[in-house]
Protein backbone atom coordinates (compact mmCIF):
# COMPACT_ATOMS: atom_id res chain seq x y z
CA UNK A 1 0.00 0.00 0.00
CA UNK A 2 1.20 3.50 -0.76
CA UNK A 3 -0.19 6.86 0.22
CA UNK A 4 -1.78 8.83 -2.62
CA UNK A 5 -3.84 11.94 -3.13
CA UNK A 6 -6.98 9.82 -2.72
CA UNK A 7 -5.77 7.81 0.26
CA UNK A 8 -3.87 4.55 0.70
CA UNK A 9 -3.91 2.40 -2.41
CA UNK A 10 -2.56 -0.93 -3.55
CA UNK A 11 0.38 -0.20 -5.82
CA UNK A 12 -0.77 -3.05 -8.06
CA UNK A 13 -3.90 -1.03 -8.89
CA UNK A 14 -1.87 1.95 -10.12
CA UNK A 15 -0.03 2.71 -13.33
CA UNK A 16 3.58 3.51 -12.50
CA UNK A 17 5.68 5.78 -14.69
CA UNK A 18 9.34 6.52 -14.00
CA UNK A 19 11.80 8.96 -15.50
CA UNK A 20 14.81 11.14 -14.88
CA UNK A 21 16.99 14.00 -15.95
CA UNK A 22 20.74 14.38 -15.79
CA UNK A 23 22.54 17.66 -16.43
CA UNK A 24 25.60 19.53 -15.21
CA UNK A 25 23.72 20.84 -12.18
CA UNK A 26 21.81 17.85 -10.89
CA UNK A 27 20.64 14.30 -11.35
CA UNK A 28 16.89 13.83 -10.87
CA UNK A 29 14.71 10.75 -10.83
CA UNK A 30 10.95 10.76 -10.47
CA UNK A 31 8.11 8.26 -10.08
CA UNK A 32 4.47 8.93 -10.93
CA UNK A 33 1.45 6.83 -10.06
CA UNK A 34 -1.82 7.10 -12.01
CA UNK A 35 -5.28 5.79 -11.14
CA UNK A 36 -7.80 5.77 -13.97
CA UNK A 37 -5.67 8.31 -15.78
CA UNK A 38 -5.35 10.69 -12.86
CA UNK A 39 -2.01 11.48 -11.22
CA UNK A 40 -2.40 10.45 -7.59
CA UNK A 41 1.21 10.48 -6.42
CA UNK A 42 4.55 11.86 -7.60
CA UNK A 43 7.90 11.43 -5.86
CA UNK A 44 11.18 13.03 -6.92
CA UNK A 45 14.81 12.73 -5.88
CA UNK A 46 17.19 15.54 -6.80
CA UNK A 47 20.92 15.06 -6.28
CA UNK A 48 22.86 18.30 -6.50
CA UNK A 49 26.18 17.88 -8.26
CA UNK A 50 27.79 21.00 -6.87
CA UNK A 51 27.22 23.91 -4.54
CA UNK A 52 27.93 27.59 -4.90
CA UNK A 53 31.23 29.40 -5.07
CA UNK A 54 32.25 32.64 -3.42
CA UNK A 55 35.60 34.10 -4.36
CA UNK A 56 37.60 36.31 -2.04
CA UNK A 57 40.27 38.56 -3.53
CA UNK A 58 42.76 40.57 -1.50
CA UNK A 59 43.32 44.06 -2.81
CA UNK A 60 46.82 45.44 -3.35
CA UNK A 61 48.28 47.88 -0.86
CA UNK A 62 49.44 50.59 -3.21
CA UNK A 63 52.38 53.03 -2.98
CA UNK A 64 50.68 56.27 -1.98
CA UNK A 65 53.87 58.30 -2.18
CA UNK A 66 53.34 58.66 -5.88
CA UNK A 67 49.74 59.79 -5.52
Amino acid sequence: MIETLIGPMDEADLEKVEGGIDNENEHTTWVEYYYEGELVRRDAHVTLKHGMVAGAIAGDIGDWYGQ
Binding site: R41, A44, V46, T47, G51, G55
Partner: protein
Protein backbone atom coordinates in the same frame (compact mmCIF):
# COMPACT_ATOMS: atom_id res chain seq x y z
CA UNK B 1 10.40 37.20 -12.08
CA UNK B 2 12.67 34.19 -11.53
CA UNK B 3 14.91 32.85 -8.80
CA UNK B 4 18.66 32.92 -9.20
CA UNK B 5 21.34 31.11 -7.28
CA UNK B 6 24.64 31.80 -5.56
CA UNK B 7 26.27 32.56 -2.24
CA UNK B 8 24.33 35.57 -0.97
CA UNK B 9 26.44 38.71 -0.77
CA UNK B 10 25.43 39.55 2.79
CA UNK B 11 26.71 36.16 3.97
CA UNK B 12 30.21 36.86 2.64
CA UNK B 13 30.37 39.95 4.86
CA UNK B 14 28.69 38.31 7.86
CA UNK B 15 31.12 35.42 7.64
CA UNK B 16 34.00 37.84 8.15
CA UNK B 17 32.09 39.40 11.05
CA UNK B 18 31.84 35.99 12.72
CA UNK B 19 28.10 36.09 12.50
CA UNK B 20 28.03 32.50 11.21
CA UNK B 21 29.52 29.43 12.75
CA UNK B 22 29.26 26.30 10.63
CA UNK B 23 30.26 22.82 11.77
CA UNK B 24 31.53 21.75 15.20
CA UNK B 25 34.26 24.38 15.18
CA UNK B 26 36.23 25.71 18.11
CA UNK B 27 37.59 28.98 16.73
CA UNK B 28 34.61 31.30 17.16
CA UNK B 29 34.87 33.69 20.11
CA UNK B 30 31.87 34.57 22.25
CA UNK B 31 30.14 31.32 21.40
CA UNK B 32 29.60 28.04 23.16
CA UNK B 33 32.60 25.92 22.25
CA UNK B 34 31.95 23.25 19.64
CA UNK B 35 28.29 24.16 19.27
CA UNK B 36 27.62 25.15 15.67
CA UNK B 37 24.81 27.37 14.54
CA UNK B 38 21.63 25.64 13.38
CA UNK B 39 21.44 25.77 9.60
CA UNK B 40 18.16 25.12 7.86
CA UNK B 41 16.93 24.62 4.31
CA UNK B 42 13.65 26.00 2.95
CA UNK B 43 12.05 25.47 -0.46
CA UNK B 44 10.80 28.22 -2.77
CA UNK B 45 8.45 28.40 -5.73
CA UNK B 46 9.64 29.12 -9.26
CA UNK B 47 7.54 32.30 -9.10
CA UNK B 48 9.80 33.72 -6.40
CA UNK B 49 12.38 36.45 -6.81
CA UNK B 50 15.16 35.31 -4.49
CA UNK B 51 18.69 36.25 -5.52
CA UNK B 52 22.12 36.49 -3.89
CA UNK B 53 22.04 40.28 -4.18
CA UNK B 54 18.65 40.82 -2.54
CA UNK B 55 18.10 37.87 -0.21
CA UNK B 56 19.55 38.53 3.24
CA UNK B 57 17.32 36.57 5.60
CA UNK B 58 14.76 33.75 5.50
CA UNK B 59 11.33 34.95 4.41
CA UNK B 60 8.07 33.08 3.95
CA UNK B 61 7.37 35.01 0.73
CA UNK B 62 7.26 32.53 -2.17
CA UNK B 63 8.05 29.61 0.15
CA UNK B 64 6.18 26.38 -0.57
CA UNK B 65 3.11 25.93 1.63
CA UNK B 66 3.00 23.67 4.68
CA UNK B 67 2.32 20.12 3.54
CA UNK B 68 3.03 16.74 5.08
CA UNK B 69 6.33 16.90 6.91
CA UNK B 70 7.20 20.29 5.38
CA UNK B 71 6.52 23.21 7.68
CA UNK B 72 7.35 26.89 7.35
CA UNK B 73 11.07 27.48 7.55
CA UNK B 74 11.93 24.08 6.14
CA UNK B 75 14.15 21.55 7.90
CA UNK B 76 17.40 21.50 9.82
CA UNK B 77 20.42 20.56 7.73
CA UNK B 78 22.63 17.98 9.39
CA UNK B 79 26.22 19.19 9.62
CA UNK B 80 28.50 16.73 11.35
CA UNK B 81 31.62 17.77 9.41
CA UNK B 82 33.82 20.76 10.13
CA UNK B 83 34.45 23.23 7.32
CA UNK B 84 37.23 21.70 5.25
CA UNK B 85 40.01 23.03 3.04
CA UNK B 86 40.51 21.31 -0.29
CA UNK B 87 43.71 22.79 -1.73
CA UNK B 88 43.01 26.53 -1.50
CA UNK B 89 39.23 26.22 -1.39
CA UNK B 90 37.44 26.39 1.92
CA UNK B 91 34.34 24.24 1.88
CA UNK B 92 31.34 23.29 3.94
CA UNK B 93 29.17 20.34 3.05
CA UNK B 94 26.14 18.86 4.84
CA UNK B 95 26.21 15.19 5.68
CA UNK B 96 22.61 14.12 5.13
CA UNK B 97 19.79 14.44 2.64
CA UNK B 98 16.81 16.67 3.13
CA UNK B 99 13.63 14.61 2.90
CA UNK B 100 10.02 15.65 3.07
CA UNK B 101 7.22 13.09 3.05
CA UNK B 102 3.48 13.07 2.40
CA UNK B 103 4.30 16.33 0.66
CA UNK B 104 2.46 18.18 -2.09
CA UNK B 105 3.87 21.25 -3.83
CA UNK B 106 3.79 22.49 -7.40
CA UNK B 107 6.65 24.14 -9.29
CA UNK B 108 9.42 24.84 -6.80
CA UNK B 109 13.07 25.14 -7.78
CA UNK B 110 15.11 26.71 -5.01
CA UNK B 111 16.63 25.74 -1.68
CA UNK B 112 17.51 28.61 0.65
CA UNK B 113 20.19 27.65 3.17
CA UNK B 114 20.07 29.94 6.20
CA UNK B 115 21.33 30.33 9.74
CA UNK B 116 18.43 30.05 12.17
CA UNK B 117 20.72 30.66 15.16
CA UNK B 118 21.74 34.07 13.86
CA UNK B 119 18.56 35.90 12.97
CA UNK B 120 17.71 33.58 10.05
CA UNK B 121 20.50 35.14 8.03
CA UNK B 122 20.66 33.80 4.49
CA UNK B 123 23.69 31.81 3.40
CA UNK B 124 23.10 30.34 -0.02
CA UNK B 125 20.55 29.82 -2.75
CA UNK B 126 20.61 26.59 -4.75
CA UNK B 127 18.50 26.27 -7.88
CA UNK B 128 17.45 22.98 -9.46
CA UNK B 129 14.98 21.98 -12.14
CA UNK B 130 11.38 22.82 -11.28
CA UNK B 131 9.80 20.02 -9.26
CA UNK B 132 6.22 19.01 -8.52
CA UNK B 133 5.43 16.52 -5.78
CA UNK B 134 1.98 14.98 -5.28
CA UNK B 135 1.24 13.31 -1.95
CA UNK B 136 4.75 11.92 -2.06
CA UNK B 137 8.39 12.21 -1.04
CA UNK B 138 10.85 14.85 -2.11
CA UNK B 139 14.47 13.99 -1.46
CA UNK B 140 17.26 16.51 -1.95
CA UNK B 141 20.70 14.93 -1.82
CA UNK B 142 23.67 17.14 -1.14
CA UNK B 143 26.69 17.08 -3.46
CA UNK B 144 29.85 15.17 -2.69
CA UNK B 145 32.49 16.98 -0.62
CA UNK B 146 35.26 18.48 -2.71
CA UNK B 147 36.92 21.66 -3.92
CA UNK B 148 34.53 22.00 -6.83
CA UNK B 149 31.49 20.20 -5.46
CA UNK B 150 30.82 21.02 -1.80
CA UNK B 151 27.66 22.97 -1.07
CA UNK B 152 29.72 26.03 -0.11
CA UNK B 153 33.07 26.72 -1.73
CA UNK B 154 35.07 29.80 -0.77
CA UNK B 155 37.91 30.25 -3.20
Amino acid sequence: MANSSGIVNSFKIELMQALHSLGPGTNSPARTVSVPDVVKGALYLTSGSLSPSTTTVYSATSEVANSGSYTAGGSTITQANVPTLFSSTGTWNPTANLVWTTFTATAFDTLLVYNSSQGNRAIELCNFGSQTIVAGTFTLTMPAAGAATSLIQLT
